[in-house]
């Protein structure tokens, strides 16, 4: 980490460093400027949440109104709905979606035939490349109320009632959202675990075999523990996005019938903030989400450090 040039450790002036590093600064410049314009300026602009917006004076010139717009959000009927929907979708995604790639990786890693292993791996990666628009369209045809192949199948085996409309009823929204999400990302997310599994020391397997461990026991006692650090880091990162339900898919899956379950914070911000130009209100709602996410991330990180000793920061 702290490696230095051969010439060494002696103290140098700031001028020396600038002369030495100016080329590196030049190489960094585009990225730094870009991030400044598209991330830090909007962060500064988030003060709009506390101000009235006026066309003449722009984002930072309006009258200071304190927490007016936050109060407006907290007391509106949409507060409860959007918060509940966002949290439900997020929590279900993490609860069901997080273990899926781990299990898949363990299964794939156990496949003995390398040809079959390759086939399964390549196949499960494919859905990752499907765009959200196409994904939602696929849901629309596969789970159509009439003649949808998969909805018919689910009705036949009695998984849902024969009259169910999987796309138009609010109660099925979370299931459809999370299920399709798992289908699409399970394979891709498993790559990281498969890679971690390939680093297991083969001596451990041999030792376990001699000790009389069967394959299941080897999975539980050797492979799973290897995955734990990766699992923890990814879990923390997931926690940091708990109120960041991706806008993309929810927005496309929304229809008037399922809105009571599908209006989440991000789509709400878009509706009020961009579409109907309530800039201050939209900013306040967005800022609230970001702060909650940040708190979740820090908490998850803190817990992880306490429990496992490894964390993100």
């Amino acid at each position: 980490m702290k490696g230095s040039l051969k010439t060494g450790r002696s103290k140098r002036s700031i001028g020396w460093y600038l002369a030495h590093d100016w080329q590196l600064w030049v190489m960094l410049l585009p990225a730094v400027v870009y991030i400044f314009i598209f991330c830090y300026i909007p962060m500064y602009g988030a003060q709009l949440a506390f101000r009235e917006y006026s066309f003449e004076t722009g984002i930072t010139g309006g009258k200071w109104v304190g927490f007016k717009y936050f109060e407006q959000y907290f007391t509106s009927s949409m507060f409860g709905t959007t918060l509940k929907n966002t949290f439900t979708i997020s929590a279900t995604s993490i609860l069901l979606g997080f273990p899926a790639p781990i299990v898949l990786a363990l299964i794939i890693n156990q496949i003995r035939s390398s040809k079959w292993k390759r086939t399964v791996q390549t196949t499960v990666y494919i859905p990752y490349f499907i765009s959200t628009v196409v994904m939602v369209s696929m849901l629309n045809v596969l789970f159509a109320k009439k003649g949808g192949v998969l909805s018919d199948f689910m009705k036949t085996i009695g998984l849902v009632s024969p009259k169910a409309n999987l796309l138009g009823q609010a109660k099925y929204f979370v299931g459809m959202y999370v299920g399709s999400g798992i289908w699409q990302s399970m394979g891709w997310n498993s790559i990281i675990y498969i890679a971690a599994l390939s680093s297991v020391d083969t001596q451990l397997y041999d030792a376990a075999k001699i000790d009389g461990a069967n394959r299941w026991q080897r999975v539980v006692h050797i492979e799973f523990p290897v995955l734990v650090p990766t699992i923890m880091i990814l879990l923390i990162m997931n926690m940091g996005g708990i109120l960041n339900v991706g806008f993309d898919k929810v927005f496309l899956m929304q229809n008037t019938l399922n809105l009571s379950a599908s209006q989440v914070i991000s789509t709400y911000v878009y509706d009020v903030g961009v579409k109907s130009s309530q800039f201050s209100f939209g900013t306040a709602v967005g800022l609230f989400t970001n702060v909650v996410n940040f708190v979740f991330l820090l908490t998850a990180n803190w817990v992880s450090k306490k429990v496992t000793g490894s964390g993100l920061m």
């Binding site: 080329q23 156990q110 967005g286």
Partner: protein, 312 residues
């Protein structure tokens, strides 16, 4: 796993042999379960994809009645004919290609030099600059201030914004930085310096040629992002002529806008029973190009995902 005493006495060895014999059976069951589960996963992933393919060449009436399940029925290619003669699709395709090619080129031009600078252990400000980037992963101003910033720059409804937006993604930056840091030996740098190389020359002549693996990963990540992105086009663009393919797809597939523009609509039995073919054909036509890229970068990308996991 658990430490056992060296098996000196016969009984212990005997117990162990029995155990291994028992294991042979349980392992066989285990193997069978693994096989069944893997077949199940395989089918669950594959079937929806397969269905779209067969539906795109089958009689739409039969598809809509739910009769087409495993094999195509009453094969026809009307949908593809319609798709290829639809000017909106071609326009969307052209736009998307511009956004993907120009956008990804810009992404690389911004990300790779920055990643190199941040990988230099002798660069004093690297931790500060890194924090500057990483902070944006976890905190942002939100959609509305971003929208207003872009609007103040006069970039709404321009092709430019769809090219330059997300010029550098912090996650991808970390991947590239970690790769350069870990797989290009510092000795090379020191040798190059002795030969009178500066950072620019070293980066161009040594780092770039040695970073092919991570560059492929970056191309894949950024390229797929640009190809599949509809959100930015939805929010920052109102001009139909600038719309990327995904927005056109959204119109056709989700908003059910009439297709076959200029054809006077589809009439007659044949056209009617094939009408919905267009939807499936569109899905395939828009997904196949990105799938075709994947095998070329496949050997690199597992590596890339792995590097990304190691937070440096």
């Amino acid at each position: 796993m658990t430490a056992t005493k060296p098996a000196k006495d016969l009984r212990n060895t005997e117990v162990r042999r029995n155990k291994i014999r028992e294991n042979a059976l349980s392992d066989r069951i285990f193997g069978a379960v693994v096989l069944i589960l893997s077949i199940l996963c395989f089918l669950i992933i594959l079937y929806p994809l397969w269905f779209v393919v067969i539906a795109s060449i089958s009689n739409s009436d039969l598809v809509n009645q739910g009769k087409v399940t495993f094999l195509p029925m009453d094969v026809r290619f009307y949908g593809y004919e319609q798709v290829f003669s639809d000017s909106r699709i071609w326009n969307g395709y052209m736009n998307t290609i511009i956004y993907v090619v120009a956008g990804t080129a810009l992404n690389l031009a911004v990300t790779m030099p920055a990643a190199y600078a941040l990988s230099r252990p002798d660069f004093r400000a690297r931790n500060v600059v890194m924090t500057y980037f990483v902070f944006t992963m976890y905190f942002s101003g939100g959609l509305v201030p971003l929208y207003m910033t872009i609007s103040n720059l006069g970039l709404i409804s321009t092709k430019l914004i769809l090219i330059i937006f997300v010029a550098v993604n912090t996650y991808n930056l970390i991947i590239a930085r970690t790769f350069i840091q870990n797989s290009i030996p510092n000795d090379l740098y020191e040798a190059a310096i002795l030969d009178g190389c500066d950072h620019f020359t070293y980066f161009w002549k040594v780092v770039i040629p040695l970073s092919k693996a991570v560059i492929s990963v970056e191309i894949l990540y950024y390229g797929v992002f640009h190809w599949n992105d509809y959100f930015n086009a939805l929010v920052y663009n109102y001009k139909q002529s600038n719309e990327p393919l995904q927005m056109v797809l959204r119109r056709i597939l989700l908003l059910n806008e009439a297709y076959a523009s200029g054809n006077g609509g589809v009439q007659g039995g044949y056209g009617q029973s094939s009408a919905d073919q267009v939807k499936y054909a569109v899905m395939i036509v828009s997904t196949v190009p990105i799938l075709c890229v994947y095998p070329f970068v496949q050997k690199y990308f597992e590596k890339g995902v792995m590097i990304g996991a190691v937070k440096g």
